[in-house]
Symmetry: C2
Subunit: 246 residues, 2 copies
Amino acid sequence: MTYCLAISVNKGLVFASDSRTNAGVDYVATYSKMHRFVWPQERSLVLLTAGSLATSQAVVNAIQSDLEDPDAAFNLRKGKHLYDLASYIGTLSQREQQLHAPALEKSNASAEASFILGGQINGKACEIYMIYPQGNYISASEDTPYLQIGENKYGKPILDRIITPTTSLEDAARCAMVSLDSTVRSNISVGLPIELAIHTNNNIEPVWHSKYAAFSPMYKSLQKQWNEGLRQAFSGLPRFDWEKDN
Amino acid sequence: MTYCLAISVNKGLVFASDSRTNAGVDYVATYSKMHRFVWPQERSLVLLTAGSLATSQAVVNAIQSDLEDPDAAFNLRKGKHLYDLASYIGTLSQREQQLHAPALEKSNASAEASFILGGQINGKACEIYMIYPQGNYISASEDTPYLQIGENKYGKPILDRIITPTTSLEDAARCAMVSLDSTVRSNISVGLPIELAIHTNNNIEPVWHSKYAAFSPMYKSLQKQWNEGLRQAFSGLPRFDWEKDN
């Protein structure tokens, strides 16, 4: 499995992804699931992938081929709106899945993949979209200012508690790291390193990007503080009325 | 959906369950999923149910019928070991599922149900078992001192952080409430009231039992304190090296 998420706040966008891929439990590998496409002053995009690694890679390859092909009917540089690009990725994903579906069904395997596409086209608002395996897509909203793909449940409670449109980019990035950390702890199919990217609203430049392994000082310190903070929060919980004070 | 869990610590057992049942989104109802069976000094049992409400109710009815039937081949009072009882419940569950499976398949519905059975038989240790829809079962262990059924992912991270065999019964009960609360917040198919039961090791009597609705002072206070504690823990997380102090 995989866990990726994108958060949309007033000040910009935060993207985070883990790096574990597995086919069964005996083939576990590390792959980046975060792909960045930037044309400064024009458009800055981040694509996150979950699901079949073959489908994810084929979609990224098709995106590259279309970008290199001057006769391509469409590519990431052409759409006027971010939803045009989401629709394009949905089409590429479906095309790739259908190509291999008959063979995969015989092996009881799935070619399904999900994507999050986010970023900004110059003059437009920051946006994030989730593209379903079926090729359709949804955007985030003020009430649900984040989107998740993959193993999304373990890391959802902290997002529900912390994230609102007025959350700062720094806090949103910390919250994404906590959400990833909770998932890594509870599910062995989600693993380090964590990748983090931050796009600041109206700054159509390469996104800030960083990778955190288990030994990264920032990640280690965040893990430690969060664990201690949670224990402290836990020890402050009210006592049952029948409970002795000790 | 449903979310139930049982925690086994050195001092005894904690059981917790939500009360929401739904068939689709338009038939949502409140049902208790916690059933207690006690023969003082002899055995004290708690059964938690998740999955098909029809199967869960039929299994509880069959348990009652067998208890009332002096000629029953087996019942909850007869097994020497808790795993004998787990096996019996698995058999009842499979029998009930198979009875309705052909009709349910035509409606694309499932008769599957999962159970947690825990408690103590006089002279034996406290134990908890999870019974799969297929009728087989597993017990908890020192390394994994809890079992969950239903919508289990949202509430798992806090259990992974807090629960060890040496956790007190009171802390285990608070942790179960936090685990339920996180799930209720993140998933509308899990709902209040929460039921909580505590069995103290070697005290083969009716378990301590309580029900918490949204307006219960203990639950409201726990929600508030936990939310504030989490926000405080969050605000204490380390800053990125590029971050301005404000």
